[in-house]
């Protein structure tokens, strides 16, 4: 830096550098519609040959709720994606190392989707949230479980209204880079990150599949998780450690990158002879079924207060995003079993084609129950049983919403 300004704190940490376009508070993203759960995706070409295999997924199988948020940026400037710190709805849970027990409930949330709305300067951000307790997910109960997103952008990418200083707010410090771009303004609530926490993704496998014969209803609701103890920033109120109250002055930036699919399949077939005088025929049938759940990595922060540790714990887990059961049944009175079976099996070989069958059955109903959300049916079942980005964990950045309220 030939000219400019740098400020350091007593630990020699860089606080302000006029070369860097600091992120400032651009506002709380506006909620768009209510929180919704993606409905179970159930469908097939018919209901034949299902006497031994049920046509439902487990009623205990649950997914979280999706909430859409909108943030406007400066028109025509092509803003970078906003940093959206997530303030979770509730943090009243406790964790004890004794039997890995969780006490109480808390919400586990993350940002699962960020995209610019085409032909606009608005950003659309989706959060996925589940209420958890003792490691088992359940469906959030309503609006109080909606997280809030505190969003940050460089000054020149905010809307004019967001960038404007309040009337009479005439004192402060601003810095500019060599191009004359304002990079810092003390009046516009610059981002303050109070701590970072290393995060790892949950173990690859989720819940063990529950199998049955007469009532086949697998439950994939994930229960794998990792815990990370961390030292609370020095400005956190220590009294929160000893009280069963909510820690409300906390928000974090840790977008979800890890996701998981768990599935199970079944195949049944049969053949026989249908006696009907001169019209007697041989017949063959086959049926393929596919059950699945798609989950995303979500996070929560709980308190631990036992003999081994007194402090905060970051829990990294999966929350169900979508689940379904689709099937294909084939019957033919003139073909051999092998031919009929191959038709059904080919659709179970993997998911996309089989789901395409189900889409034709359920798309209309689905559109009516998952309003205001773009839903690309062809991508609903994304890949076979497994995980993506399992080793790609990132750090969690912490801050406090009270800085910006």
């Amino acid at each position: 830096m030939a000219y400019g300004l740098k400020l350091f704190n007593g630990d020699n940490d860089v606080l302000i550098d006029s070369d860097f376009e600091h992120y400032h508070f651009a506002g709380i993203a506006a909620l768009s519609g209510g929180a919704q759960s993606i409905p179970p995706y159930v469908g097939g070409n018919n209901t034949n040959h299902s006497t031994t295999l049920g046509q439902t997924i487990s009623p205990n199988q649950v997914v979280g709720k999706v909430q859409k948020h909108i943030l406007a940026s400066r028109s025509g400037y092509g803003s970078p994606p906003p940093m959206c710190f997530l303030k979770p709805a509730g943090l009243s849970g406790f964790y004890s190392t004794q039997n890995n027990l969780e006490i109480g409930t808390h919400t586990s949330s993350s940002v699962i989707l960020t995209r610019r709305i085409p032909n606009t300067s608005n950003w659309e951000i989706w959060t996925l949230t589940a209420t958890t307790g003792d490691g088992v997910s359940s469906i959030p109960t309503g609006g109080s479980n909606t997280p809030r997103l505190y969003c940050f952008l460089p000054l020149r990418f905010m809307t004019a209204a967001a960038e404007a200083t309040a009337s009479g707010d005439d004192y402060g410090l601003a810095t500019f880079n060599s191009a004359g771009v304002k990079t810092y303004d003390s009046r516009k609530l610059p981002l303050k990150i109070t701590a970072t926490i290393p995060v790892s993704t949950p173990p690859a496998r989720a819940r063990s599949i529950i199998t049955g014969t007469n009532s086949y209803s697998p439950n994939f609701t994930p229960n794998s998780k990792n815990y990370h103890q961390f030292t609370a920033p020095s400005d956190w109120n220590a009294s929160n450690l000893s009280q069963n109250n909510s820690l409300t002055d906390l928000m974090y930036f840790c977008p979800s990158v890890c996701h998981s699919v768990q599935d199970t399949k079944a195949f049944t077939d049969g053949e026989g002879f249908q006696a009907s005088g001169y019209n007697s025929t041989f017949y063959a049938w086959a049926r393929s079924d596919l059950w699945w759940m798609f989950s995303r990595n979500t996070f929560s922060i709980v308190k631990q207060n036992d003999n081994s540790y007194q402090g905060f714990v970051l829990k990294s887990m999966y929350t169900g995003y979508g689940a379904g059961h689709v099937w294909k049944s084939e019957e033919n009175s003139s073909s051999f079993l092998a031919v009929v079976a191959s038709i059904a099996l080919s659709l179970a070989t993997f998911g996309a084609s089989l789901v395409t069958v189900a889409v034709a059955v359920t798309a209309t109903a689905l559109a009516s129950t998952f309003n205001n959300y773009i839903f690309d049916e062809g991508n609903y079942y994304p890949y076979a049983d497994g995980n993506k980005n399992l080793t790609e964990a990132g750090p969690m950045l912490l801050s406090r919403p009270s800085f910006y309220d």
Binding site: L7, F8, N12, D19, D376, P395
Partner: protein
């Protein structure tokens, strides 16, 4: 505070204090979806490097962008902090030595499958 720097609003509330243990965003870069090239975070004016100044600690966050429905087969871009075309993680280890300006590169790689790699926003923080 014996020494330091504070900014306050007109009501006397502290807006910023040099006592805060904070992190400074050094650079933001979006790696395009499906790209197969190794890309370097930075820009032309500083030789495609990050100016790291006096920072001695770093964090790298990654943020997938542009997923249409949030459930596609999305691979996040990987990165490394040297010339090695492998690796991932969350820490950028940089020895802050040498004369000013101190610069460093981050190499961005595709995920395991380039075709399924979505756009990824990288943010590098230092302090």
């Amino acid at each position: 505070m014996a020494y330091g720097f504070e900014t306050r609003d007109s009501n006397g509330n502290i807006g910023f204090s040099s006592e805060d243990s904070t992190w400074t965003l050094l650079n933001q870069f979006t790696a395009p979806a499906g790209s197969t090239d190794i890309r370097v975070i930075g820009n032309a004016t500083n030789n495609r490097d990050i100016t790291i100044g006096s920072c001695t600690e770093f964090r790298v966050t990654r943020h997938m962008l542009g997923q249409t429905v949030g459930d596609d087969e999305a691979q996040v871009h990987r990165f490394s902090n040297g010339n090695v075309n492998s690796g991932q993680g969350q820490l950028l280890t940089v020895a802050a030595t040498g004369s000013y300006p101190i610069r460093r590169r981050i190499y961005v790689h595709t995920g395991p499958s380039a075709a399924d790699t979505v756009a990824t926003s990288f943010m590098i923080f230092g302090r």
